[in-house]
Amino acid sequence: MRIDAYITEYARKTPLNIALEEGKNSISYSCLEKDISDISLLLMDFKHCRFAILAESGIQYVKLLMAVYRSENIAIPLPIEFPKFSLEQILDSAHINNIITTDTQYSRYGESFFERFGTVVVVSGDTSVKILRKDIKAETNIPELRLVLYTSGTTGTPKGVMLSDKNLVANGESIIEVLNINSKDKGALVISPHHAFGNSIIDSHLMAGGSIRIGNMNFMNSVFNLIGSGVSIFYGVPSTYRMLLRYPDRFREAFSTVRTAASAGGGMDKAIVKEIRELAPGLGILPMYGQTEATARLAYVPAEDVDRFIDTIGKAIPGVTLEVFDSEHRPVEPNITGELVAGGENLLLGYLDDEIATENKIINGWLYTGDLARKLPNGYIQLLGRKDDLIKIGDHRVNPREIEKHIEENNRVSRVFVVPVPHEFMGTAISLMVIPTEETEIENLFAFCRKSLPGYLCPREILFIDHLPLSENGKISNRSIIEEYKHVKDSV
C-alpha cells in the first residue's frame, strides 16, 4: 500500500476529520484527498520519474509529496535549510530532470536555478498549478523506488537514501505501535519534514487517521502556542527540547496537555530528562533511535525505563531485529563491543546511484549502522560512538568517546573532547579540548592522564573552550571536533 492510499481511505471513512493544520488553516481528509488528486493529474503522464520537491514545511509540502506518490513517480524532497551549493551538489549527482516547487521557493531561488530542469511545475495558493516547462524523459529506476531522503551528512556529501512504499508503511506501522498513535492524536511537526524524522511524523499520523499541526521552531511564542493548541504528541531532536527548556514557565504551561514528548536524531541526556520531569511530571518521555537508512526508526526506550536507561537506545521497535556483530559478521556476547546491525522491512533499497556505498551498508541482508554498541544483560543496547570515529594511534584502535567519558567521570570538568592530531611517530596522537568548570585545572588533568591512561593516549595539549562542537545534525563527531579545534587554533 502507498502512504497516500491511507488518505483516500480516511477521506471515505472520516471525511470531515482534520488531517493537517498550519497557522490559522486546516484541511480535512476529504479536501486533502481532492487536492492531492488534482495536483497528481498533472503528473500522470510521467512514468516513474524522479521529481525534486522544493517546498517550505507546511500543508502545501504534504500535498506535493502525496501527489508525487499518487502519480506513481519518485519524490526527492530537497532540504531547503541546506545552503544553495549543497542543493546544487545533490541535484548534480542525482540526475533529476523534473522539479515541483512553491511560488515562494521559486522567487527565492530565482529563474536561473531552475534552468537545469526539463520540467518545472510551480504551485501557488491551494492547488493552482503552473507548468512552466514540460519535458518527459524516460528514466530507468528501481521499480520499488518511491522516495529519496537525504541524510544530514555526517560524512560530508549528503547521500540519497532510496526507500520503497513497503519501507514507509512498515516503519509507519512500527512507530504507530510504539507511540500508540490513533485517530484522536494530534502530532506536532516543528522539525524539517524533508528528512527521515519529520517524514515519519507525517506518515505515521496520516496512516493512523490522526492529525498533524505543522509549524517551526523559529518564534518561541508561536511554538508554545502551537504545543498548547491540543497537541497530544510532540516530536523534537534534543536541541529542540533544549531551546524550549530555556522558557520553563511557558514549557510547563504548554506541555500540561501533551501526552508524549518523543525524541530522535541524537541522544537525550539526563539533564534534559530531569528538567522535563520537573516541569511536566505527567508527560511521557519517549526517546527513539534511528537512521535515514532504516526509513526512520530502529529502537526506543520504553517510557517506564527512561530514568534508568536514558544512556541506552533501549530495544528494537516491533518488526525490527537489532544485533551487535564483530568484524567477522558474527553476533557477540552481551557487554562486548561491536557494530550495531539491523534487520527488518524498513531497510533502504540502497543509495541513489551509488552501488559501492550500498554494498558496504547492507551485507547479507543486515544494515550496518556504523554505530559501535554493546548489548546490556537485559537486552538493551548502549551506543559507544561511531565506527568511523575510531582513531588509530600507533597500532592501537582507540574509541575517542570512551576516553572522553573516562576523563569526564574522574575529573572536575564539564565536557571533554578528544582531538586526533598528527604525530611524527605514531601517525596520530590526541589533544584535548575541555569545557571547564570553575574548579578545572590544566595541571590536574595532565596529571590524571599521565597516571591513568597509557602513554600513547597522553594528550599533547589541553585547550579550554566554551561551547560544544556540534555537527550540522547536532551530534558530536570527530569531524565537528576537528573543525572546532581548527577554529580555536586559528583564533589564538
Binding site: 545552503p83 517551526n216 523559529n218 518564534f219 518561541m220 511564542n221 508561536s222 531551546m243
Partner: protein, 81 residues
C-alpha cells in the same frame, strides 16, 4: 532607529548565512530567505538583550517582532524607551 537597524545588519553579516552583498529590504523575511534559523534567532535574542540591556518578554518572540529588520528595530526601539 536607523542606528539600531545598522547594528542588526552588522550582526547578521557576521553571524548568519547572510552574504556580505545580499541586498536586504526592511520588510524581507529573515527566516524564509534562509538568513537565520531557529538557533540563530535565540542567539540574536541574547545579543540584543545584552547590547541594549533589555529583557524581551516571551510573548514578544513572534514573527512580527523578529522576522524582519523593521520588526526587530521597532521592537528594540519600543523596549529601550
Amino acid at each position: 532607529m536607523e542606528q539600531i537597524k545598522n547594528c542588526i545588519i552588522d550582526y547578521l553579516k557576521a553571524n548568519s548565512f547572510m552574504d556580505k552583498d545580499t541586498p536586504l529590504e526592511d520588510s524581507d523575511s529573515l527566516t524564509q530567505n534562509g538568513i537565520i534559523d531557529s538557533i540563530g534567532l535565540l542567539e540574536l535574542i541574547d545579543f540584543i538583550s545584552e547590547k541594549y540591556s533589555i529583557e524581551i518578554p516571551e510573548d514578544m518572540l513572534t514573527p512580527e517582532n523578529f522576522d524582519t529588520l523593521q520588526g526587530i528595530s521597532g521592537m528594540i526601539h519600543k523596549l529601550v524607551k
